[in-house]
């Protein structure tokens, strides 16, 4: 069994993100980067699948970005991925193009499962997983907080391996079954990712990272989303004390908080 785990490199969400003077780009040079937390959940789950129900699972981490992404791929290998693929592009593409690249990789690798984060904490789009599932025509389960491998179902309409997953939706916890191959996107409560300390990263140095140029995948990027401006949301504050509930309501309405 093969599990593909796309990994995104994102600015540390703990840090304050600033917009440059032209209001078109983010100033990220001083901001440390991390593996997108939801992707870490996805990777952790893949490792747990290998540690549990499917010992022969092969886990492949995919990064789509500039050479700096190798660092997050190294971390992924330290967390338990068997090998990594780095698709070299100058910057992270929009979700549509990420999905196209993932489709191309999927066609090369023919995995049984694409396990990824529900969204990236930088652009917060929450689209790529659904796009890939749609493009591949595979079953999908988004916002997953639990994955269970179930024995083969004798029901003739469902062939192959099956998963039972719990999804965290606005209306509650939804349980569905999926036929493999499938796309699953992970929610935060799926698991607690392990921490890759330096010795683990050093140990994973021997694991391979394959770099694939975009041209080899025959993909020409055609962005669907074009950013034209950015604005910082101010966060400095000075407390304005109010004396009564009436005064409070006046202030809140006056400042259009309510």
């Amino acid at each position: 069994m093969k599990i593909l785990v796309p990994i995104k490199r994102v600015p540390d969400p703990d840090h304050r993100i600033r917009v440059d003077l032209q209001r078109i780009a983010l100033e990220l040079s001083d901001v440390p980067h991390i593996i997108n937390p939801f992707d870490a959940n996805a990777l952790e789950e893949a490792v747990r699948i290998r540690e549990g129900p499917v010992p022969d699972a092969e886990i492949i981490a995919i990064g789509i970005g500039d050479p700096a992404w190798q660092q997050e791929l190294r971390t992924s290998l330290a967390m338990g991925a068997d090998r990594a693929i780095h698709v070299g592009v100058s910057g992270p593409p929009d979700p549509w193009n990420v999905a196209r690249i993932l489709r191309a990789i999927t066609e090369r690798e023919s995995p049984d499962l694409v396990l990824m984060g529900k969204q990236a904490v930088d652009d917060d789009s929450n689209q790529a997983g659904q796009f890939v599932a749609g493009l591949l025509g595979w079953p999908q389960a988004t916002f997953v907080s639990q994955i269970e491998f179930i024995p083969l179902d004798p029901e003739p309409s469902i062939a192959g391996h099956q998963l039972r997953v719990a999804r965290e939706t606005d209306t509650g916890i939804e349980t569905i079954r999926l036929r493999l191959p499938a796309v699953i996107t992970a929610d935060l409560r799926l698991n607690e990712p392990r921490y890759a300390a330096l010795p683990a990263i050093l140990k994973a140095k021997r694991k391979p990272i394959e770099t694939i140029p975009l041209t080899e995948l025959n993909i020409e990027l055609s962005p669907r989303v074009e950013r034209i401006a950015l604005q910082e949301v101010s966060s400095s504050r000075k407390c304005q004390y109010v004396q009564s509930v009436d005064e409070l309501l006046d202030q809140l309405f006056l400042n259009r908080c309510l």
Partner: protein, 320 residues
């Protein structure tokens, strides 16, 4: 421009958020002379479709196979409806339903999608969308290339739609056979109440150590949140004490959120908690301790006991 709004429903009526999506669609259509239609998917949804006719044309897909929202089937129906209506734009309210189903449909329709839109604008006849990113620390303005354009909106950002003078027509959509069968429904464990998710809500009401028990948490925190259509949240202290469930915890070890307004009730402001809510746009703190550190991180402060202040606040908010 032909705009199709995907309507989420609870089996008997459309969800208010989805109606806000229709409101957004109307606003866009009004500006460029377009048309708005609604799409309802499910089983025995004729009644809901009927309700929606007051906002224009309604497409509806009704089948036992669509009794539950499974993304592969529903997305297929949406793609069919888009092609039937020749829609240039597909809109929905940003919810887990739309992120799941409309997101997949967008993948099938060319991927020109923008999520969580909180405002829009026009420039040279082009639609600009404004959306938050980086957990609300930054907003970006984008344009979409390609058709159809797929948009999910934050329901709190848009008004409810205006009813038309004449009712729209109803068009049933024949369900394609066979529908995809890779996903099978098992069951839904319903959440109590219908409050928005703490990570998505525009307003979040959070309770801290001053709240004594579960009952008071529901009465004060829940009560105030319901007045404001807000989500509820708590500090680690209440989660630890078993007063609030784990999923509501905001802070370093809980969720990191950035709502428009964060109301801190009886929260002292430990650094662990501040880490989770410091990016909120506005913060209101109510605490009886004038020295509570939370006031250093608040825009509005009211020194008082939450047990006195909150009931009064709820009472005044209920007044017309």
């Amino acid at each position: 421009m032909r705009i199709l709004a995907v309507i989420e429903h609870d089996g008997s009526s459309p969800k208010p958020g989805s109606l806000a999506a229709v409101g957004f669609a109307q606003a866009v259509a009004e500006r460029n002379g377009g048309h708005v239609a609604s799409l309802v998917i499910g089983h025995t949804v004729a009644g809901i479709a009927e309700i929606l006719t007051s906002f224009g044309i309604v497409y509806f897909a009704d089948s036992p196979a669509l009794a539950n929202p499974l993304a592969d089937r529903y997305a297929q129906v949406i793609v069919d409806a888009v092609s039937r209506y020749h829609a240039d734009m597909l809109v929905a309210a940003s919810s887990t339903y739309a992120k799941d189903i409309v997101g997949r449909a967008a993948g099938l329709l060319g991927g020109a999608m923008v999520s969580d839109v909180v405002a829009h604008d026009w420039r040279d006849g082009q639609l600009l969308f404004v959306r938050p990113m980086h957990a609300g620390m930054v907003t970006e303005t984008v344009i979409l290339h390609g058709d159809p354009k797929i948009v999910t909106i934050r329901p709190t950002a848009y008004p409810q739609p205006i009813a038309m003078e004449t009712q729209g027509e109803l068009f049933p959509i024949a369900v394609q056979d066979p529908l995809p069968v890779g996903m099978m429904w098992e069951h839904l464990e319903s959440k109590l109440g219908t409050r928005p998710d703490v990570t998505d809500a525009r307003i979040v009401v959070a309770g801290g150590r001053a709240i004594a028990d579960r009952h008071d948490f529901e009465r004060l925190v829940g009560g105030l949140a319901d007045c404001l259509d807000g989500a509820i949240a708590s500090t680690r202290a209440l989660v630890d004490a078993g007063i609030a469930p784990n999923s509501l915890q905001v802070g370093q070890t809980g969720k990191i959120i950035a709502p428009e307004l964060y109301i801190a009730l009886g929260i002292s402001g430990a650094v662990q908690h501040l880490a989770g809510m410091k990016n909120s746009k506005k913060v209101l703190a109510i605490n009886k301790d004038p020295n509570a550190p939370i006031f250093d991180f608040a825009d509005y402060g009211l020194v008082g006991d939450v047990y006195d202040v909150v009931p009064e606040l709820i009472g005044k908010l209920h007044e017309p």
